[in-house]
Structure formats: C-alpha cells, structure tokens
C-alpha cells in the first residue's frame, strides 16, 4: 500500500463519496467530450476516407471501424462491471454499485451495435442477414448476459439488495464468458458452413489498423461520458434524501 503515493490513495477514497463523485463527473465531462469528439473525428475521417479500399471486400469492410470497437467495448464493459461488482461486494462501496448498473445499458448497446453491424457486414459478404459464426453467436449470448443484469436489477425492489445481486451475477458472468467463448468457437469449427468467415483478418495493413485503434480509444472515452451521465441520475435517485442533494436543489 505504501508504494502508491498518499494523494492518489486519498483521491481514490474521496471518489467513494457520492457528492464528490457527482461533482467530479461534472468537471470531467467537458474534457472527456472534447477528447472523444477529436478522436471520433479523426477516426471516422481516417476510416471512411483515408484508409485504402480492400482488395477482397471493397469498401464494405469499413464497417469494422464501428463493428470491432463495439465488440471490444461490449467485452471491456462487462469486465468493468465485474470489477465494480467485486469492489462492491468486498468493500461495500456505493459508487461501485452505481458504476456497475450505469455501465450495463451501455454495454448492452455496444453488444447490440456489434450484432447489427455484424449482420450488415455479413449480408453482402455471405448473402444472409445472420450466420451462426463464432463471434456473432458469442456476442448474442453476451447480450443475454447483459439483459440478465438489467432485468435482475429491475426486478428486485430494494436497490441495495439489487446491487448486491447484480454484483454476484456480473462476477459469475465474467467467469463464464471465456468458457462460453471457447465452447462457441469449438462448436463453430465443427459445423462450418460452406462459407468461411472473413471477419478475422490474419494480418491487417497499418493504414487500416490505425483508424481501428483510434475508434477503439474514442469509444472508451464515449463509455466514460455515457456511464457518468447515467451514474449522475443513479446517484441522485439513491441520495435524494441526503443533505448534499437538498443543497444542490436549492442552488438551482
């Protein structure tokens, strides 16, 4: 513990306080938005315009600049939810609960985007709107895992109990995700249809890779922005009877 400088430790403890977290979010959001828009702007420009046309897939491959970052985010956010769940269960941190439940709809949205853009990419390539390939099937199951978290939280009336329930569920889910992913991949190799999936390119040209990484980074900033927006609402709901919220209302 002594290797981490004291101000950082203090800051970490401070973020556990809802009013501090709330005002910190407000301060961070403009910066996060600015960085996000810059990254997004460059990513779209590089991906849609600068990157060369693919030899095999023509210009349809450009869908990867939203499809792949969305798929990465769908997994990343679930892991964040699991970490938040662990923090919540071990240290009973309210803000961890807030981060978890705020992230769920965003993670589900990214999963949805990955599925829809995957279909839209697949249709011109394979001729059908849906193929049971490993990635799309895994994403579909991941969507159900997200919907499970959201449904369970909504179904339990006492929100403190609900938070603990989804924390447990997120941890159980995150352990299962690699197992599910591996088994779906295994299953896919057995039932390989006549079309081979071209989604996993073995080596990718640098000009095509850079926009992908920029979009992936942009999406991470987006996640922070969207999550904090939801978190602010969640905090107000949970803390509505506290003094600091009452003061906040008086200021407006």
């Amino acid at each position: 513990m002594s290797i981490i400088p004291a101000p950082i430790v203090r800051f970490y403890h401070q973020t556990a306080s809802p009013p501090f977290f709330y005002s910190l979010s407000n301060k961070l959001l403009p910066w996060l938005t600015a960085i996000f828009l810059m990254l997004l702007g460059y990513g779209l420009y590089a991906g849609l315009y600068l990157a060369p046309t693919d030899y095999q897939q023509g210009d349809s491959y450009r869908i990867i600049y939203v499809h792949v970052p969305a798929a990465w985010m769908s997994l990343f956010i679930y892991v964040v939810m699991a970490v938040a769940g662990a923090i919540s269960l071990i240290w009973r941190m309210k803000i961890a609960d807030v981060v978890l439940i705020s992230s769920a709809p965003i993670g589900a949205s990214f999963t949805f985007i990955a599925l829809v853009t995957g279909s839209l990419w697949g249709k011109p390539m394979w001729g059908t709107w849906w193929v049971w390939d490993a990635r799309l099937t895994s994403e579909l199951i991941l969507l159900f895992l997200y919907l499970g978290v959201i449904s369970l939280y909504g179904a339990i009336e006492d929100k403190r109990t609900a938070s603990r329930a989804v924390a447990i569920l997120a941890l159980v889910g995150v352990v299962n995700i690699p197992i599910i992913h591996y088994s779906v991949q295994w299953w896919n190799t057995l039932h390989q249809g006549p079309t081979v999936t071209k989604m996993d390119k073995p080596s990718i040209h640098l000009d095509m890779l850079i926009p992908l990484l920029v979009m992936a980074t942009a999406f991470k900033f987006y996640y922070a922005i969207a999550m904090l927006q939801v978190a602010k609402v969640e905090i107000l709901l949970r803390e509505q009877n506290t003094q600091w919220v009452k003061k906040l209302l008086e200021k407006k």
């Binding site: 499970g148 369970l152 339990i156 329930a165 447990i168 569920l169 889910g173 599910i180």
Partner: protein
Amino acid sequence: MSAFFAVIRRDLILAFRRRAEIANPLFFFILVVTLFPLGVGANPKLLQAMAPGVIWVSALLAVMLSLDSLFRSDFDDGSLEQMLLSSHPLTVLVMAKIIAHWLVTGLPLLVVAPLLAIFLGLPEQALGTLLLTLVLATPVLSLIGSIGVSLTVGLRRGGMIISLLVLPLYVPVLIFASNAVEMAGNGLAVDAQINILVAIFFMSAVLAPLPAAAALKMSVN
C-alpha cells in the same frame, strides 16, 4: 458433515411426500421431445440428425423448470432462514440441497432417455454416451441453476427471469454434451468432449455453491 447428510435426507423425504411432483419434469421432458417431430415432420433422417440436440435442449429446459423447487418451499416456510442462521457453513448446506434436488429431478431423466432415443431414432451406439453426458452434465445444470434461483428466490415471480439468467450459462454444457452424443452416433471418439464435461463438472461443483450461498444470504435478508 452430519448436517450435510441430514439436509439431503430431509429434502429427499420432503420430495418423496410429494412424489407426484417428481414426475413433472419427466413428463415435460418427454412432451417437449415429442413436440419436435410434430413440429418439423417425421422424416427419420432429419429426426436422427436432430436427436442429440433435441434431447439435450429438452433435458436442459426440464431441469431449468424444476429449479424453482430448489429453495422455494424452504424460503416460504422459513427453513431457509434457519439454515442461514445455523452455525453450519451455508455452502455445505447449499451443496446438500443441490444434490438432493438432482437426485429427484435430474437423475430420473436418465431413466427416460433411452425411450426418447428410440422416438428420435438415435443410433444405439450413442445411447451409452447419451446416458454418460446426462449423468455428468445434469448435476452441472442443477449447480449453475442454483445460482440463478438463489439470486431470485426473494422475487414473487422469478420464474421467467431465471431462464434469462441461467440459459446463457448453460450454453457450453449444451454444446459439448449434444456434440458428444452426435459424434458417438457416428461412431467417432468422444474423449475430448467427455473430458471437458468432467472438467466443467468439477469446476461447477467447487465454484457454484459459493455465489449461490452469497446470493441466498442477500435474498433472505
């Protein structure tokens, strides 16, 4: 340790008192399998190709529907709270309840499975593998299912949400079990699939009671 066996014994006696209910998952299992030929037509080749998957999906659904009985009556009459308050480790008691539950709902499915194999024209050489996968994987279904049930035991109508929570987690078991049966039907080796099922069995036996116990503590309070 004696508490462990006492709980198993108690649950079995309670289940025996309502032994008519033991038949319900069995009937469901048979019924669902019967629906498939009615739905897709009686083409023997088609049914034979679908048999491993159909039998396994139906078994999975039958187990899932029976999960509610795992904690429901104990929750309703307060025995669950007693178990939580007792000095015995909750994970041990949960494990005992899961074992009793499987003996009553999962194990009987094995009795019926050969009949269903005949219905769907499953090759005889696959029958042994079918029974083996059922023995290995239905306990896993009870174990994983117990997590879903314990998270929702406090809800008034937790039934539908249990399927949403639990079915995604069932996917690996379904994939390996149905594939093993299919390969066995074709006379191919199934060592890899069986080994994976064994690994999944041990992993869930060790890991599943922990979140289930944690969720019960949280649900009951």
